[in-house]
Amino acid sequence: MMAFNKRFFGTVAVAVVFYAVIQFLITGEMLPETYIDTLILLGINIILAVSLNLINGFTGQFSIGHAGFMSIGAYVSAILTYNFQQPYVVAILVGAVAAAVAGFAIGLPTLRLKGDYLAIATLGFGEIIRIVWLNTEYVGGASGFHGIDRLTDWTWTFIFVLITVLVIQNLVNSTHGRALIAVRENEIAAEAMGVNVTKYKVIAFVVGAFFAGVAGAISAHYFYVIAPNSFNFIKSFEILVFVVLGGMGSTGGVILGTVLLTFLFTWLADWPELRMIIYSLILVLTMIFRPKGLLGGVDASKLFKKKGGSSNHGTTAQG
């Protein structure tokens, strides 16, 4: 277990150094505003993709309603800071809990559905949430919620990304994570081996929705305005593409996929026509040459394994 601890602290140390360098550049005003925007957007996308990966990649439940959970976090937190003058952190946590409750509500009745059927049900759920915001005058209806304070900065984004990745990695690399993966691998066998399948599916939905809510809350407090249409099913698909491109069931792969696509989108923002062509080409080529995603099927524990090190990695990809 010492090997595991060393690697764990090593990863955290690298992340903190990365944070400090960026923070130094920001305080020294050496980083253009647009770069900071991109970095924060990247952080939000990583939280979304890593949390969706818990549901889709590790537990094998094909959900495409992530934008719906995100919007709950965004709206609830915005209402709290704007209408009730609550502190930022409180707003984020309440928003995330609200999204988690929605995850529980959607998870429980749809558990009996599998594959495509679950996908359609979650898609429909996401759209219902969006329509609710669209028709609620209290949150601005179709024109959106305006005048949210910019309370998110690089530090907060980094903290929440770190918490998300750590919580999900720690969950996945434990007996509880093995129960989740067992559900994905063979539901009937998992149940026969004493795994409470219903409970673990709900856990995946609740934890995944919680962090989607965090991402929504962070983004609402950075971009000043939230509108129902930014949480439509296209947004859900965008998150799904991060996950599939990076490799379902591999947190490292999903982060890599998110970084690549987020930067690609930003760099190509000036050529909208070209952007979609390149984006599509990358997806097609990835699916031809790496059908399991960039890092899908790569056993990280074997790549970095020291002699006799522990291999309690749950990051094997879906077959």
Binding site: T175, E185, A189, E191, A192, G194, V195, G319
Partner: protein
């Protein structure tokens, strides 16, 4: 000897088809019982009724003195009945040792939050689980392949791993659904010895479905015969071998 399993007048209807019809069975502690019957006789359906995958349409199943009515498969497993499957159901993308560790999951003491927060009892619990699983694999001579992905094992070893995984759940009753399916004669003989050895070593009760008559007759102490959902005979291998009803079910009626 206490009675471990009692099947009391159990039927299961699918639409208009009576897959299992008013079946009675009892298994005493420590017995090694066979369940045979032609294809489509309802053997696997009966297994599914015993392990909670299906609810009986009528009748009751008692395990270890209490009814299993309304209980989910994982609850019945917790009470001490573990099974294997006719078509192997391993966790293919997990390693061999992880497959066994899943069976220990229901006995875990460290909760979700101590794993997320990486509290000391998480490390202690995980380490114990892993050590126990490796010890267990040694018994089945699979410890050399502990870190291999389960789906890459040869067929015979996958079967053995599935039995090992079921045994790791510490059952009182082990249900084996066609353990010798797809094995060559030599592997079947090894399996026979393994089953006998498991019974003596772990002091558990075993119920197995099998098509291989050599295996069933050689290893079981008592045999139940199911034909078209009806229990047509039970008794020692010798009695079953000479039972005209059983011969009829398998070979058809004698022409006069």
């Amino acid at each position: 000897m206490a009675q471990l399993l009692k099947v009391d007048n159990v039927s299961r209807v699918f639409g208009g088809l009576k897959a299992v019809s008013e079946v009675n069975m009892h298994i005493e502690d420590g017995e090694l019982i066979g369940l045979i019957g032609p294809n489509g006789a309802g053997k696997t359906t009966l297994f599914n009724l015993l392990t909670g995958v299906y609810e009986p349409s009528s009748g009751k199943v008692f395990f270890d003195g209490a009814s299993v009515g309304g209980q989910k498969p994982y609850q019945i497993t917790k009470r001490g009945a573990a099974r294997t499957f006719q078509n192997i159901r391993l966790f293919g993308d997990m390693t061999v040792v992880e497959n066994v560790m899943v069976a220990y999951h229901m006995h875990t003491k460290h909760g979700l939050f101590s794993s997320i927060l990486r509290l000391p009892n998480h490390f202690k619990g995980e380490q114990e689980m892993r050590a126990k699983a490796i010890e267990f694999l040694k018994i089945f001579k699979l410890d050399g392949k502990a870190d291999e992905v389960a789906k890459n094992l040869p067929y015979g070893e996958q079967r053995r791993l599935e039995i090992a995984r079921a045994l790791a759940a510490k059952p009182k009753l082990l249900l084996l659904d066609e353990p010798a399916a797809g094995m060559n004669p030599q592997e079947t003989v090894e399996l026979m010895n393994l089953i006998r050895w498991i019974r003596d070593e772990f002091k558990i009760t075993i119920l197995l479905i099998e098509h291989d008559m050599g295996l069933v007759m050689g290893v079981c102490e008592r045999i139940y015969v199911l034909d078209r959902g009806i229990m047509i005979a039970d008794g020692t291998p010798e009695q079953i071998r000479n039972n005209p009803k059983v011969i009829e079910a398998y070979l058809g009626q004698e022409v006069e």
